[in-house]
């Protein structure tokens, strides 16, 4: 059944609900979905969140460049950051480097760009991926760009808190060191999610369902958020956020 919203709109709404008021939030380059989610949260329940978006004029408070966001994160002053991974694995590792072997890769990806630091220095990291398939959610990543679990000698834990996809939201359980199915989005089922995940998920019954995007969420997303986002990601807005 066709949904009255795009998968990206749904993911932005799901992400917006996870943003807490007053947080200092960093969003890297080429991250339109989290940017949409955070701007939406700023219009709703998190008006005092500080949203820092690389590549934006309105949402970039520093004069110099991307090093300032990077070093702010290294000081441990970011409450929330967003990362993606071409692969995400059972142990919470993400891969942004290569598919295949490092020496002779099938595909060479852009690389870490600070994510191996950010994954551990931001207080919470929400992962997102616009496809939920077995090629993304794998037993073991081809290359560990940033580790889900750090060696004992590291003073900081860090790592993932959630992963948001078009099908579901998974939560990282730090005690058990495994992914649990936190909520299934409308239009999907727990079986559907499990069949498209390349490792076993912990599923607690009854399975939580993600509440449908409300009319207010979609209206704001397609008006105020759309206008602000257009200045940063014009192509994304044209293709993925419906006009009001």
């Amino acid at each position: 059944m066709a949904q009255p919203y795009t998968p990206e709109e749904l993911m932005a709404v799901v992400i917006s609900r996870e943003v807490r008021d007053g947080e200092t939030i960093g969003i890297g380059a080429a991250s339109p979905v989290p940017a949409a989610g955070c701007i939406l949260a700023g219009q709703l329940h998190a008006p005092r969140a500080s949203i820092i978006i690389l590549g934006s004029e309105e949402y970039y408070p520093f004069p110099a460049g991307s090093s300032e966001l990077h070093f702010m994160a290294q000081k441990g002053e970011l409450d929330l950051f967003f990362l993606s991974g071409i692969q995400i694995d059972r142990a919470g590792n993400i891969n942004l480097h290569v598919l295949g072997t490092y020496e002779d890769p099938r595909v060479r990806l852009p690389g870490a760009y600070g994510s191996a630091m950010l994954y551990h220095m931001a207080r919470r990291v929400i992962l997102y991926r616009t496809e939920h398939t077995k090629r993304t959610f794998v037993e073991k990543v081809d290359f560990v760009t940033a580790a889900g679990v750090l060696p004992e000698s590291a003073s900081r834990e860090g790592g993932p808190s959630l992963v948001v996809t078009p099908r579901a939201m998974l939560a990282w359980d730090r005690e058990r060191r495994e992914w649990t199915l936190a909520a299934v989005h409308p239009g999907s089922t727990a079986i559907d999610v499990e069949e498209n995940t390349g490792f076993p998920l912990r599923v607690q019954q009854p399975v939580s369902m993600t509440p449908l995007p409300t009319r207010q969420e979609l209206r704001l997303l397609r008006t105020r958020v759309r206008d602000k986002l257009r200045k940063i990601y014009p192509g994304f807005v044209e293709r993925k956020i419906m006009p009001a």
């Binding site: 004069p63 110099a64 990077h70 290294q74 490092y102 600070g114 630091m117 940033a146």
Partner: protein, 195 residues
């Protein structure tokens, strides 16, 4: 990377960075090493040597004959990179006679950090130059297509890099039209510049 360039700009012998622990990059990068923090218990950290590029090249909107230059956009990271590099070359859209001073708009590269200035109008191509011309998307598309394969990439290099006898010939090959008025420079596929 930022930390390594910053260490280079500061003359620091090495830099300690957070994160990276547990990742595969440490297996493939002998320049990234793990040590115990001498000032804190139970705190493994990665250390890395400074980066000092032999040459850094910046494209500026304007430069003067002393070497002062203004690159557009607020990117003072440029200054960090200039100070890390052993030699700094500035290419500029125009060379002005009047001495440039640090001003409000853009990023100021002072002459003391600059070794050479070259007048290269259209020098940001195929990227854009703020307020002057936008990026040449048709050319970027051609590049992306050519870069998929060794032989097509070689043909690309021949056509655009080795083929043209000088910069003027390059500009004519990519279809650059010099501006009549500021902000009206255009490629064959004009995209309005960022203001």
């Amino acid at each position: 990377m930022y930390s390594m360039v910053q260490a280079g700009s500061m003359g620091a012998p090495f830099v300690a960075v957070r994160g990276l622990l547990g990742g595969d990059l440490l297996k493939h990068r002998p320049d990234l090493r793990v040590v115990m923090n001498p000032f804190q218990e139970r705190d493994a950290v990665v250390v890395a040597p400074p980066i000092r590029p032999d040459v850094a090249v910046f494209h500026a909107a304007r430069a003067d004959r002393l070497g002062n230059a203004i690159t557009l956009g607020e990117r003072r990271d440029d200054l960090m990179l200039a100070r890390a590099a052993r030699r700094v070359v500035v290419t500029a859209e125009e060379i002005v006679e009047k001495e440039l001073k640090p001003g409000a708009a853009g990023t100021f590269l002072p002459a003391i950090d600059v070794d050479q200035v070259v007048c290269v109008p259209g020098g940001a191509h195929p990227a854009g130059c703020t307020k002057r011309y936008g990026c040449d998307r048709i050319h970027l598309g051609e590049y992306l297509e050519a870069a998929k394969d060794g032989s097509t990439f070689k043909a690309y290099l021949e056509k655009y890099v080795f083929g043209p006898r000088d910069h003027r010939a390059y500009l004519s090959r990519v279809g650059f039209r010099p501006r009549k008025k500021r902000g009206q420079d255009a490629w064959r596929n004009p995209i309005p510049p960022k203001s």
